[in-house]
Subunit: 261 residues, 4 copies
């Protein structure tokens, strides 16, 4: 069965900015979804900010194996309710891929627990991405480096927690570097951040970038059944302790009482 | 100069529950602060939930090298403003130590980006903590294992991100295990979680536990000057790029424009 | 195409010790291979110490996706040449799973760069393995914990480098704990250590243990083509630098010279 | 008491190559030791390959808090005995800092368990090192980036295990990047790799590089008493199990028997 991907796009600059509209006439989300759908192992749909509930419901996330998220101009317009839904889905096992300016999106910042800040410059400069680990699944089929002739610069320090793995590091023409591909696990969900994708450049039309996105969807997919309640903190009564024990000493809670939160 | 520690205590059960009040007549926070102050390299103060602003201001956190946090009954009463202050201080370089039921405190969950859930049982059973890495600074002076005759059980899976280091793992009489000492870094701040400390038992009077707390304060202390704005994302104008470049292609932002958030 | 697994067994105690021979009449390696072969996605063979070259050649490893290794009595009899072959194969992308007493095998110690020591007791006590991360691929289909009624105890501190992920932690009846399932990456190869499997007990006949082994083989399998020379350190001549540069200053090496090792 | 640093230098090119001799007339090891000794908190000595036993004995390592290692032309001349001594000392708690071409030294490769390979070019190009994490102790007092006008290029992929922390990433004029400052723990010992330091350039005369080296020595220093036998794997007899148990089932070992290795 195909991996069910959902590409969430803010879809603001595509409609308001002539340059972006020319590069992505159907929206960045559609270009990304089309790129994923060239692989029969993936079946990608889209959702956008302007749809009711931003196109996201718990039911839809329950049917999503991997969520891709692109946002920039309107991070603040994403509701806290949707942010909560996305984080819960990740914790329960949904994969999540955050693209470019989504480093400052609400769900990414919430999942990282860190400022996720960086330095930046919009000058159409050359970016060269290097693999730091050969044969990582996210780098399947890639050469040791590849270039994007025009990109926005993002520079270190990148304010994220130490990743599980660093997959890509970028070189920028103007003199900066950036850890451009990083993995984490949050609950049962695999999380990947991929740096390229400024909206005024044709990055998501690039064949190598599209390969990375397809690889990342496969990597992020956790085929295990989704956890029903990823934040459950069940009491284990004395009678059900794996080893027989006798209760001792004072206690705060009555039998069967829920824990304090 | 001594390390400035601030012990934040919820101070609810100490006042409402007779058993807890007997074990900690001056509050758990005071017992912990007293234990830290036996070391002349540390100067510990306290703050509690019932104080104005929970006893926490940005100014006070700016004067705090390491914050210790204990909460259980009233996590929900901690204001979002204080949670934000604490996270910002950690990102700017303040150390933070979360104790026992603080696994479900707002600042810890925010810093982890994960559910932080576990299983639990209040039966006064024996806990034995094992070092997983000898000679870690947090374990200075400790034997390979030590026991607490009566503790609440916390069981795996513990819903936190993979740590930088696992320092302690607990064995419980009833058959469970738990990663009881874990380290992370968030921004410039060192974070440590230490499991023991249920309020109905005299855990914080235990000499070995007190040694761990003093060690942890020293480990978490980052002597570097605090970052003024840990979430800053400055634009680097073309003219100030480390390498000379010429701007190319279309752009969204005007010179000197703030980034989008 | 099926994943090609190779189960390497020392096959010493199975022949010399009556108890072990009764539990594993065809050798532990054969029991493990049979368990893997119940899954049509895996095709497992075996090799043993007493075969010429321990049954291992570079050609055979090149045809192996995942190597499983069990040894105990005769670690010192494994040749350095075979150890080198195994490490090179891992670095080039072969998965490797080290079982129980293989913590002290030459290839594992070489890949870890650490003492890999622990404490131990052979008393047939109960071991209970707990998941530390739900829905990890290695734990697919498993409950939160499972038991082995008779096992050898291994206790912390376990002298290995911090893992990428801790998947299992064991509770022992005699009071110890152990990180029983740990993952690392070495070069392009995925490495997993799994604790259970003392030769006098029927551990590898246990259905849950067999599930873990099958899961681990699938997790360790890296489908990327094997790296031809995983230790290559090629010179990049000035003329082939990604960005045009002019050579400056003194140099040690002539053009096309191999690096120093 | 001052931290006792030992700077080990190969001291080959300094004597055979006129260019290197001019840059480092007293040897690179002496320049580094002098830089460390400007800080009264450090007391640095030197040792070189041409001394008896390469200037290294178990006794001398027992009196060394942090070892710095530079080698290039003569990695193969370092004896396996000295390599074993160094690894044992690290596992027992000695800090170790590997400099530049020491990525291919025997002790570093042994501690990493990985190929430690990279790409390289000797063209005197500009290197710019970026902090990836602000306020890391190794980066104390440093700006967000600093430059070395002439350096050898080292390029990714760098064949080392995922580090605990990435502290620096380098930008090279010729278009490559490299993770230039990485930390690991091996046993009780802290390990740091720092990239710059090609022998034909005056890198170790650079004030910022010297600051990094002093910071790194302080970071790597583990004040805990050295472990006597970092590879010990003691048996825990049934009578000394933390919890009372009764021996069950068959066993291989007699009471008090040493384990198998």
């Amino acid at each position: 069965m195909a991996i069910r991907a959902l590409v969430w796009g803010e879809n603001v600059h595509e409609r308001r900015n002539r340059v972006v509209a020319q590069v992505y006439p159907h929206g960045m989300h559609q270009t990304i979804a089309d790129a994923l759908n060239t692989d029969s192992a993936i079946r990608a749909e889209t959702a956008t900010l302007d749809q009711p509930g931003h196109g996201i419901t718990p039911q839809r996330l329950a049917q999503t194996d991997v969520l891709l998220w692109w946002g920039h101009a309107a991070h603040g317009d994403v509701s806290d309710a949707v942010t909560d839904m996305v984080c819960n889905a990740v914790w329960s096992g949904m994969g999540a891929i955050f693209l470019h300016s989504a480093h400052f999106s609400k769900p990414f910042k919430r999942l990282m627990g860190a400022p996720c800040n960086l330095t930046w410059r919009e000058a159409g400069e050359r970016e060269r991405l290097w693999l730091t680990t050969r044969n990582h699944p996210i780098a399947a089929g890639l050469p040791d480096h590849f270039e994007l002739e025009n990109e926005e610069m993002y520079g270190e320090p990148f304010g994220v927690p130490e990743p599980l793995e660093t997959v890509f590091v970028s070189w920028f023409q103007g003199g900066e570097v950036f850890r451009s591909g990083l993995t984490w696990r949050r609950g049962a969900g695999n999380v990947f951040y991929f740096r390229p994708g400024h909206e005024t450049y044709p990055t998501y039309h690039d064949a190598t970038v599209q390969t990375v996105l397809r690889n990342a969807v496969k990597w992020a997919h956790n085929p295990a059944p989704r956890l029903a309640d990823p934040g459950a903190a069940p009491n284990v009564p004395v009678a059900k302790a794996p080893e027989p024990i006798t209760e001792r000493g004072p206690r705060l809670h009555h039998d069967g009482a829920p824990g304090l939160r």
